[in-house]
Subunit: 306 residues, 4 copies
């Protein structure tokens, strides 16, 4: 039998302006668990239902944004096969040695036509989730704040959308679950390497390499309400929500970390299989595609990226 | 890149004692849509969020139970590769010509060491889901009864559990997401070919080839309540629920079709990836594993199979 | 023992520009049931869980808005006792004979210092709810659209807020559950004649007699999501939501009928008893008081009234 | 205007076998807050959304059960008026001086024809709820366990049901919201002094003065699931649930405190008004009346009382 090469989004490295504030945000409010820090001052975090050692890396810097997003692949063989693929596709490719990120094996870094940095890696140390692997409880009780289950996906804004979709479909084996078209012109692409509605999404944008948001999974619409309530109680900067997306059907709320990086927590979302047709949204339905209830885009959502 | 061969559970063929009653049950109460019938008298049904022409086939017979369960594979090449695998494994294999089931391409049928019949197929006609592929609504309004989203998995009771797990893991590429162990002795196996907690599950049993239940996906715990309410209003035979499973964390209710075949509708459930550790339940926790709240098994659940 | 005189908001009479469109809105989308019409062309509606013959009366007119809101009182004795009270308070009082509204007994109409018309009545014909009074089902299956359970309250904008609060507290026996204060100056008052967080609410406004919204009860936050989804599917004019109020804690969504009258559907909300302290919101928290998540008021909500 | 005399169930005094275990149960699992203890060793507790100083009093004793249930009345005048009523009705009446229970004013105690002890009182010290009265948050974050909102009602088993219903209706001003009839013979009575579906309920029983359960309010079906999950995690003794009642429509789960006293937490439930018809359940529907989904009574529920 054959198996899939790319397993899932494994980590996102986010630049923050003030590390203490950022750690407080991602732990106390989003509910991630701090699992390590390194001598560069980077902080490692994971969500309660993830097994690997980290899924978010925070780095203090002068400007917010995303350094890179990493995907875990099934094994070293797949890692090198995909490395060759992205190189042949024309990406600039770089190997980063095991241990440059604590607990993480060798990484293959490449740039995308949208101007972002991505990584592939086959190994990360096992930390374990909060329920364990023998007779686990079916829920967690003591996770903080929104208690995000896992890092789920990123939405990135960038320039050469068509070629990036080609890269993710043809080289990395993702499927195009949903797309936004202006006539024949591709505006947005929602790509899956799993049964999720998206593992990575791109929106066409004038500037390359921009970061729209990192998204974290919740289980229910009640959880989205609780996230909204917490946003208010702790006076976090809200973007929009609670609402639903037309694209993916996800139930969602957006807010900002103290550095201005957008976060999403969401629940639900349709199931995707590789033989499913691509769902197409036309620009006259763009408002409804993005914010299903308001049916109009807010300028914030379109323009504020880091 | 490499891709997964087995996509998902694609259909289950169920024997019913009275076709009219069965069709009423699966359409009015479970909320499936009748999409066809054939000259053998078989009736074809699908759930509202499935694209393929059918996922349930009903056949009138003298005894209830499952005729076979079919998995969709990615393409013909995978079909034949897997056919060779199951033959080499020692299964009895049979090809069934395209069209024997309406709208379905060639099928490869084989028997499992638990005494069940399984099928693989690469092609089924596209019917489309109820929301469509261009600017779809994010929900459906007019689906009947429990409005099950999709056929999700089966739980089967049978004899040679160890060899069947070997077959599904080594030949078909499934992962063992969760298992029940009595010491070293395998009692139950929950296997995934996706990111779901299970696509097929087996419990060890004295008799081969028994059918415990076919399960259908709902989105929320509120949907499980509504299913429970409908079961009561229409006086369907309930087995147990609403409750939660320890295994998979799913929120669930069990009931019987008019022929005595068990159905499940459920929501939630943990996410599985091929690099996740297998979760182990020990027999002293078996009650909690199956029914997380009652923490004891009812005899019905253990013994009533078709 | 003593009993309460005013039972509940019993009806609201709303002016609409086009009766056919309005009836479609209030039945197909809000989910009310049309129970009658009269020779003046007025249409009578009720929600599925109400027993009395109607709770909404629609009247075609040149301008939208509220004609009057009626409260059911416990008996004729209470009706006349309260009539005397409102007359002594200084209201203009008028008796309207039994049958002027179909199925409704004699009404005592009076004006409030905010410039609105209110009514009291002791008798309305029994229609029955949709589940019945003998061995009822615990839910309804075939109610349309948002399936509002009952007419719940109105929010009215008007001039002399202090005197109106005096009228409702001292004469009609309501309690002041929550208030908005600008220093000592009363901006908003939420009054209850039950265990609900409000049965009538007022906001101070330059113009007398304005109608902000009529509100209808749903059971859950899931129901609010479904309402939001329906608003989008049927392209109804949304105001804001889904969100939560700080005031009353209610989970809510606002939208407009085709004539521009605002509707609310909501779930939850705190419980009120006559010995509870009045909750006070200060104007620096007004945004959070009204829209708990966004923490800022939209101009629409403040200014668009009918 | 006239006002209601009896406001609500204000406290229940429960006998427990081991105070430490009991306090752990009612605080850590049910989520009540310990607010005091007295020199008799009694412990006082309240729920997070209650304002008065306590709603549960625990007393260590040799046998579990209920000592008495108290109702708060509107004022002293009502207290003495009702005292005279219950005396004239034929109850044995006793005044208990202010301060016999900490923070509680004078109480009027009387026995009911079902063999239970009830109390009326007009004053209890104000403790405040967990959100406060100025610009309160709309939710609480740090309440433990099931985080019950309030003590809601009791179900009591006893002998002379008809006379007790007479007492609560005619003397105390309750309404009979729902009843269970065996022909003309009253089996169960659900009585309301508010807009809730019940504030006190009785089931006919051979023995007088038995305690079936004390019930506490949750907001949602999700909260009931969480309660069920906690019951399992902490290995509390479950009775039945999660499920729904036909009577009142409430969504519910039952479990036992360490002394064997039954607790309920529930959400939802229909709204009651004094002009609503009494809903009647006939004994052939008794299973569905009590447990809407299973449609059959378990012996536990019928026979295990304290």
């Amino acid at each position: 039998m054959s198996q899939k090469d790319v397993l899932r989004p494994g980590h996102v490295a986010i630049r923050v302006l003030d590390m203490d504030e950022a750690v407080k945000h991602y732990t106390d409010y989003l509910g991630l668990i701090k699992t390590d820090h390194d001598d560069q001052g980077r902080v490692y975090l994971k969500a309660w239902d993830e097994y690997d050692w980290f899924s978010v890396v925070l780095r203090e810097a002068d400007a917010p944004g995303m350094d890179y997003m990493g995907f875990k692949v099934r094994d070293t063989e797949a890692l090198y096969r995909l490395e060759q693929g992205v190189r042949e596709f024309g990406c600039t490719v770089e190997r980063i040695g095991s241990g440059e990120l604590n607990h993480c094996g060798e990484r293959v870094r490449f740039d995308s036509p949208t101007g972002h940095h991505f990584e592939l890696y086959a190994q990360k140390d096992f930390y374990g989730n909060e329920t364990g692997t023998t007779n686990p409880e079916a829920f967690v009780e003591d996770v903080k704040g929104m208690a995000a289950h896992r890092f789920d996906h990123c939405l990135l804004y960038g320039t050469d959308l068509d070629r990036s979709v080609e890269l993710f479909r043809d080289v990395l084996g993702f499927g195009l679950a949903e797309q936004v078209l202006d006539g024949d012109f591709l505006i947005g692409a929602f790509l899956s390497c799993s049964n999720k509605a998206h593992d990575i999404a791109f929106i066409r944008h004038d500037e390359p390499g921009k970061f729209h948001h990192a998204s974290f999974f919740l289980e229910t619409w009640e959880d989205v309400l609780r996230a909204a309530d917490l946003i208010s109680k702790y006076d976090l900067s809200i973007d929009i929500g609670p609402t639903r997306h037309g694209i993916t059907r996800g139930k969602t709320i957006y807010f900002f970390d103290p550095s201005g990086n957008r976060n999403e927590v969401f629940a639900g979302g349709s199931t995707w299989y590789p033989d499913h047709p691509t769902i197409t949204w036309t620009t006259d339905n763009l408002g409804k595609a993005i914010f299903y209830h308001d049916r109009e885009l807010n300028q914030n959502f379109l323009e504020v990226v880091t």
